[in-house]
Symmetry: C2
Subunit: 384 residues, 2 copies
C-alpha cells in the first residue's frame, strides 16, 4: 500500500520567463503592498514598484536583507511593516529574502514573537496575502513551509516550519536569474541538487515526491555547469529554475536530511553560504548513506548518464563521484580545509548537527556522534 502523505504547496505556481509580469493578476483584492527585495536587483524592483503604483496600489519597498539572516534583521523589519499595515507581502529575491518575507508575513501583526514560532507547527495564523518570486535557482523557498534564521549569539541556524509560511502564489521566472553571479549560481544550484537528493533518498520518501525529485536531479545535473559558465543562457537558466522548483516542491512534504543538518553549523558558526556548505558535505554524506541507498543512487546514476551495465553498487558509487565532479566543475570549494574550517571544530560541529533532530531523523541511515565526526573529517581531508 502506498503510504500517506500531506501535500501542501502554494495553490498557484507561475513558471516561466516573464512570469513576474503576472504578479498584478494576483493582487486584485489588495491595496497596500510591502515588497522585500535584494539591492542588486533594485532596478527591476523599481520598475515593478512604479508599475504597481501607476495601477493605484500603495507600495512600500525595503532592501533590508542580509544573507543567512540573523534574528535581529527580521525583528528590525517588523515595526515598520506593522505601521504600514499591508494587505500583501511580496518577497522577491533569494532564499534569505523570501524567508524574511514569509516570516514578516506571519509576525508583523505582533500576535506572536520570533521566539514563539521557532520549530514545527508553532505559527498560529497569517492575515496577509503572501507572494514569493525567486531570483536564484536553489533555495526552493518560494514554495516551502520553511524559513531559516541565524541565531548569532548561539552560532546556530534555526528553522521555522509552518503551513502558514507557504505562499499563496509562487512565481518562478528564469529571466530574474540571468544576472546572478556565477559563484551564486553554482552554490544555489548545488543547494537545489541537495534538496532533490535528500528528498529522494529520505527515510520518509514517497512516490509522489520521488518522481519530482529524480526529475530535478536530472535537470540540475544536465544544466548547472552551463548556467554557471554561460550566465545569460536562458535555456540553462530555465532548466535550473525548474529543477530548483522541483527541489522546493520536495521540501514541504518530505524535506531534507543529514546534509542540511550538518551544513547548519558551517553556516551558523563559520558563515559559509548555505549552498556551499551543502555542496561540500553532499558527497561525503552520500558515501556514508550508500549501504542504505544502493538502489536509489543507481537510479540517480541512470538519470545523470552513468553508463548502464555496471552493478547497482558500482552505479551508485559512480553517481556520488559524478555529483562531486559537478560541484568541482562549478568552482565550489571541495572540502572543509579549503574553506578554512579549523579541524579542531569538527567535534563541536558534529554535536551541533546531531541537535538538528528534525532533519537528522530524515536521514536514510542513522548517524551517531562518532560517525558525524568521521563524515566531517572525510569532508575536511576530501576522502570519498
Amino acid at each position: 500500500m502506498i503510504k500517506n502523505i500531506t501535500i501542501n504547496w502554494p495553490s498557484i505556481i507561475e513558471f516561466g520567463a516573464g512570469g513576474i509580469n503576472k504578479i498584478k493578476d494576483y493582487l486584485k483584492d489588495v491595496k497596500k503592498i510591502f515588497i522585500l527585495s535584494d539591492l542588486p536587483i533594485r532596478e527591476k524592483i523599481e520598475k515593478l514598484e512604479n508599475e504597481l503604483k501607476s495601477l493605484g496600489f500603495i507600495v512600500k519597498v525595503s532592501y533590508d536583507v542580509v544573507p543567512e539572516p540573523p534574528i535581529k534583521v527580521l525583528k528590525k523589519l517588523l515595526d515598520p511593516v506593522k505601521e504600514f499595515s499591508p494587505d500583501a507581502i511580496i518577497g522577491i529575491g533569494g532564499g534569505s529574502t523570501m524567508d524574511l518575507a514569509k516570516l514578516t508575513a506571519v509576525l508583523f501583526s505582533g500576535e506572536q514573537k520570533v521566539e514563539d514560532i521557532i520549530g514545527i507547527g508553532k505559527v498560529i495564523n497569517r492575515n496577509v496575502k503572501l507572494i514569493t518570486v525567486s531570483t536564484t535557482s536553489g533555495t526552493g523557498s518560494e514554495v516551502t513551509p520553511i524559513a531559516v534564521l541565524t541565531d548569532v549569539e548561539n552560532k546556530l541556524k534555526k528553522g521555522v516550519v509552518s503551513k502558514y509560511l507557504i505562499p499563496d502564489v509562487a512565481i518562478v521566472d528564469p529571466e530574474m536569474t540571468i544576472s546572478l553571479p556565477s559563484h551564486i549560481t553554482a552554490s544555489t544550484g548545488m543547494d537545489a541538487m541537495t534538496h532533490c537528493i535528500e528528498a529522494y533518498t529520505n527515510r520518509y520518501s514517497h512516490p509522489i515526491i520521488d518522481n519530482i525529485a529524480l526529475d530535478g536531479i536530472a535537470l540540475i545535473f544536465k544544466n548547472l555547469e552551463k548556467a554557471v559558465k554561460e550566465g545569460d543562457n536562458i535555456d540553462a537558466r530555465s532548466a535550473m529554475a525548474l529543477g530548483s522548483l522541483y527541489g522546493g516542491l520536495c521540501l514541504g512534504p518530505v524535506n531534507t536530511a543529514a546534509v542540511h543538518a550538518m551544513a547548519y553549523p558551517l553556516g551558523g558558526e563559520f558563515k559559509i553560504p548555505h549552498g556551499v556548505a551543502n555542496s561540500v558535505l553532499l558527497p561525503y554524506v552520500m558515501s556514508f548513506n550508500l549501504p542504505k541507498c544502493i538502489e536509489k543512487y543507481s537510479n540517480i546514476a541512470e538519470v545523470i548518464g552513468v553508463e548502464r551495465g555496471l552493478s547497482s553498487e558500482d552505479m551508485a558509487k559512480e553517481a556520488i563521484l559524478k555529483i562531486k565532479t559537478l560541484s568541482d566543475n562549478c568552482g565550489i570549494p571541495t572540502g572543509l580545509k579549503t574553506l578554512k574550517i579549523p579541524e579542531e571544530s569538527i567535534p563541536s560541529m558534529a554535536k551541533s548537527a546531531l541537535l538538528v533532530k528534525r532533519l537528522m531523523e530524515n536521514n536514510p541511515r542513522v548517524i551517531n556522534l562518532d560517525q558525524a565526526k568521521d563524515i566531517f573529517q572525510k569532508a575536511y581531508e576530501e576522502i570519498i
Copy 2:
C-alpha cells in the same frame, strides 16, 4: 527554453488510507457544513455526519446526485443550500458528486446563474470553503478547476472551467474506493488513464505535467486489472488512487484532448458513462494521433512493459494495443457497435465533437470532420 505554465492545484492534498479522518483538521474556521454525497456510501457518510455533529458542527447532508448530472439537478440543489448558508461544502463521491459540489459552491449565493458560468474563466468568485473527497479512482475532479454538466435538451455535455472550482482541500483516500463495483472501477480507471495519456501527448504538454502523467500511466496500467478483479486489494486500490490523482493534477494545467471531446456526444446523446466512452475511443484516437506521437507513445510503451529493442514506431503501436487490451481485460465494451450506438449517428456525433473546441484544440493532431467520422467509424467496427 522551458515554456510557461500556470500550475493551479488545491493547496492541500491528503493522500492515503484513512485520509477522510483528517477532514476535521481542515474545518477549524467553519461552523455550518453542507455535504453532498452518493447513496451507496450512505453508511460511511452518516458516521462522518455524526462525528462532525458531536464536535459541534451544524451539518446538512444531501444525496441528490445523479451520474452525468443534468443542469436541472444542479439547479434543484441551489435553493436549499442557500437557505442553509454553509461555511463549507464537502463533495464526497465520484466525479458527478464532486462536480456538483464544486458548482454548488460557486453558485448557491445566487450572484451568478448556471448559464453565466459555462465555458472558461466565467465564475467571478467563491465565498465558501470547498473540500472534495474522491470515492472512485478516475475523474481526478478532486483537484481540478473543471466541472461537467449534461444539457439534456440539447443532448450536450457542457464544461465549466474556473480557478474558483479548485477545492481548498482534496482528500484521496483509497479505502473509500474498496466497495466500488468492478465495472465502475474499470471505467473510472480507464478515464484516469485517458487523462494521463491525453495530457502527456497534448499539444500544450509541459515537462512538469509529462513527468506526472507518465508516472500515472505506469501506475494505472500495472494496477487497474487487479483493482477490477480484486476489489478489496488495498495495494491495487491505493496505486489506482494515486494514478487517478496524477491524472487529475494534469487536467488543470494541461487538460485532455480529442478523446474527451469525442466522448461528450456519447455521454450527452446516448448516456454512455464518461469512463466507458473514453475507454472505447482511446485506442482509435491514439491510432489517429500516432504520426505526431511516436516518441511519446514509445515512452509510454517503455513504462507499460513493452519489450525494448523494437523501433520507436513499433513500440508506439504496441503501446496502443496494450492499452486496448487492458480495457478489454477489464470488461469494458470494446466498440461503439457493442455499445449499441446506431451507426447512422456517427456524422452528428462527429459534428458535436468538433464543437468542443476547448478540448479539440489540445489534440496533438488536428482533426477535421471527415477524420472525426472516420475515427468513430473505426471505433464502431473495432478496426485499430
